[in-house]
Amino acid sequence: MSYLSKDSPGEPNLLMGNEAIARGAIEAGVAFASAYPGNPSSEIITVLGSLAKELGIYVEWSTNEKVAIEAAAGASYAGLRSICAMKQNGLNVASDFISNAVLTGVGPGGMVLIVADDPGGISSSNEEDTRYFSRLMEIPLLEPAGFQEAKDMTKFAFKLSEETGLIVMIRSVTRISHGRGNVVYSEIEKGNKKAHFDTNRTVLAFPVPWTHKILHEKMAAIKDKFEESDFNRYEGPKGAELIVVTSGAAYLYTKEALNLLGLSDNIGVLKLGTTFPLPEDFIARNLKGTKKVLVAEEVIPFLESSVKEAYANHVKDLGIIEFFGKTSGHLPKENELTPDIMAQAIAGLMGTTYVPVDPEYQAKIMGLALPNSPYRALTFCAGCPHRATYWDIKKALKLDGRDGFIVGDIGCYTIGLGPQGYSMLRTTHAMGSGSGLATGLGQLKPFGLDQPVLAVSGDSTFYHSVIPALINAAHQEADFTMVILDNSTTAMTGAQPHSGSDTGAMGVPAHALSIEKICESLGAKVKILDPFNVEETVQSVYDTIQDEKGIKVIVMRQECCLYRLKKDDKRYDVRVDQTRCLGDNCGCNRLCTRVFKCPGIIWDRVNKVARIDEVICNGCGVCADICPEGAITREVTHEA
């Protein structure tokens, strides 16, 4: 039995935030869980999947977030409690369904939506603040300010969903999802595991004004409930000179800042867990008597706007209060907050100053750190097939000489934007956006576009959102080359299976869909290439871009090196024959370390020649094809 499935009420356990969310769902008797992987949300489904058999629940990695939330809703309509998790980008994909489901309502089984935002874009292409979706879609929003709340709110959300027939959204952030803290368990509810769709019920949103009115009545009732919620509380002296209104991770930074400043007894903290609909009366009650309010939250002033709006509704009672936060410039509208940022803002409002680090010490430490720390670029892993893919395409495009270019999207291969991917990638937006852009670019020949157009996507992204773009391209006869970097897994988010995998989230067999068969069915000309076969692949890519009719698909098939090494040995033992490497006397000008840039090859400063870092090298062997002197040798360690 896992520590996550123990029925041991009152027991504290050290859990990662995402595990706490999963535990909350387990305690609520969840029966169905779905998601498309995306950091920082991925571990929720990973842990539920690993417990699926033991708990008798169904867990899947869905093809994309819209499908994931629809699948979860299906279970809800059949009476099962369901949970769906995604990162902020994923909510954009799923939102089309949600905007309808708010009017239709969900089923008798409660349904919880977990969205893990990524302030600072640590593992994302943006730092979108999804809390606005709760207002836009009109669904209740909970923001956990710690690991215990992550668990408790999840469990509560199922109950609220069942009471109201609405999807309940929980917004986590990286520091909640990926941090760890003590979580005290409560009892595990059995939960309904018998699915049945009530055919007396029709799920529809018409007439819209009527269902919309029902939604507003539900939201009013939820607001009343939130007025009494334990997730909202006031800490500190009544009528404090300054009150910090905050939610989520910003609450933790606020508390730490007050500790740093020694002001915990002087300043009030109004901590909100239910941020839409806002418990206005509760807020007004607690702000009474204060003169200054600082609203602390990450990214966009969502809470700040809402609280100011609530203040306007209660201004007669509250008198004049000055509001500070992002609009006043006291807090940044971008990136994560830190205790130091909070302490500086609070100190400023209290007429004192806070210096996080002695400037002299700071200068000294930077002077020591910068010259001595090794240069670390954002790069592909040693042995990553994507490096080889970009190397091959680069050469094919250079030989072609018509200034061809690659458009792409988000995945490990986004590193192709930088020198570690030879700056081959020119654009990156959402999942599948490269293929979409290419369908447009592939129509521009009559406008004089004479450059070869290539789009890249990962294998998981192919299923997620490239297929519709390829259908469009096939139908419109757009001229471009779609390159699918098939590394057999959803690598960037931690090697989750996808629709092309033969096992799913629960570890049981799944039907693997063939990328090439799907593409062939669209009439695309499909080639399957091995990016590690440099010479042959360069020629084949070159030949493909000479063909100027219709969509061409190249599947660059080579397993993610990290995924491979979980099951298998290194392919090659790679060595530099230091008697053959000419070092700086070679005309190559350090091609291997300066241009090819695999971190597995390093410059031996003593012998002034290249060397393999045996610890880093993953044994792909491609560098042996790159060295013009043949000084890099590879020996097969394992027959692939």
């Binding site: 680069k394 050469k395 250079k398 030989l399 000489g401 030879y422 006397n585 070679c586 005309g587 190559c588 000008n589 091609l591 241009v595 790159i626 013009p628």
Partner: protein, 364 residues
């Protein structure tokens, strides 16, 4: 202008300006330059301050006086066909499938027969694409015979030969290739210089070469490329470009072909490979013989031996019969100098470094 003599300057001053003749001098020295379908392609950035690529390129810093002194022993001369020791009409002793008199093929076969060379950097044809060919025996010479009409990276074969350890290599090349080879041979203090392996430089006459990619594009809508067996330009006033195919000869007006000439050729002042040991071209009024210009002592020695052993037949050519050739050569110089001075009035003669008086005289 930076003092660097490296690849960045080569890219900016030669490749970006279309001055590259595709000779292959920079190909095979490093991993950064490759020749592909007639073009020199830079695959990756290289930040070297000094590079053999820049030093050997025939379109960078061409010091005519310096090169002439080192190769020919005299300053750059006034003769439009270059400094020479003698001019002959020449033909192969044995008949074969040569263009004109077969002198080049005979000389190369002779060099192999007499074991005066170990290898030769020649040009063969891969279907219609001229490619560099590192030939190491008599038999290989045959496959390289015949004229080519678009540029080939022939010198990449010399670079390969040097890398593979051949020590006596003959180079047969067009004026740009001969200039590059001469720059290699005369370069001081350059490590791993392929020029050290050069035994003989046999120059060819060249008015211009076509851009392979443009030629291919032109022909691809008019001929089945797979059927093409050869090209020919009959002597004036025919004004024709002949494409020989499996199904017979096709002729195209030369006026449609001239726009396919490489930009580089329009900026070349050399028609007769002025820095070669010997230069060979067609003899205008005798399609069965070549015009052979002997320039260096080494060239003189080779030609004498080849004639003595009966490999080629020579006839002294009176200077007065060279008037038309000299006029053509002079016109090529004038056109090129005009183009270069118009291209960059500041730099005056572009890549050509002096002698100013001589060049002004040529310009008229």
């Amino acid at each position: 202008m930076s003092n660097a003599q490296g690849p960045q300057r080569l890219l900016a001053e030669v490749l970006a300006t279309d001055l590259c003749s595709g000779c292959g001098a920079c190909v095979g020295l490093c991993p950064y330059f490759e020749s592909f379908l007639g073009r020199t392609v830079n695959l990756d950035p290289c930040d070297k301050e000094q590079g053999r690529c820049f030093l050997f390129c025939p379109r960078t810093e061409l010091d005519l006086d310096g090169l002439s002194q080192k190769i020919l022993g005299v300053p750059y001369g006034a003769d439009a066909i270059g400094t020479h020791r003698g001019v002959y009409s020449s033909r192969a002793a044995h008949t074969g499938k040569y263009q004109a008199g077969g002198t080049v093929t005979s000389l190369l076969e002779f060099l192999f027969d007499e074991q005066m060379i170990d290898a030769a950097a020649l040009t063969t044809t891969d279907r219609v694409l001229p490619v560099a060919d590192l030939v190491t025996d008599r038999a290989g010479v045959k496959r390289a015979s015949g004229s080519k009409y678009s540029a080939a990276p022939t010198l990449s074969a010399l670079n390969r030969a040097a890398k593979e350890g051949y020590q006596r290599v003959a180079v047969v090349g067009t004026p740009c290739q001969v200039t590059a080879t001469a720059k290699m041979v005369t370069a001081d203090g350059v490590e791993r210089n392929p020029g050290a392996a050069v035994a003989y430089i046999v120059g060819l006459f060249c008015t211009w070469a076509l851009d392979y990619r443009k030629l291919f594009e032109y022909l691809s809508t008019r001929v089945d490329i797979a059927d093409i067996t050869g090209f020919d330009i009959p002597p004036p006033p025919a004004e024709q470009f002949v494409v020989e195919t499996k199904k017979g000869k096709l002729t195209f007006p030369l006026s449609e072909i001239r726009p396919l000439v490489r930009e580089s050729c329009k900026n070349c002042i050399d028609m007769t490979s002025e820095f070669a040991d010997v230069s060979v071209g067609v003899l205008e009024d005798d399609p069965t013989a070549n015009l052979l210009i002997v320039r260096t002592a080494r060239g003189e020695d080779l030609v004498k031996k080849a004639a003595d052993k009966g490999a080629i037949k020579l006839e002294k050519m009176p200077e007065e019969k060279l008037a038309h050739l000299k006029e053509s050569a002079l016109n090529k110089k004038k056109r090129a100098l005009k183009n270069l001075s118009e291209k960059d009035p500041e730099a005056k003669w572009g890549y050509i470094v002096g002698p100013g008086d001589q060049l002004k005289k040529i310009m008229g």
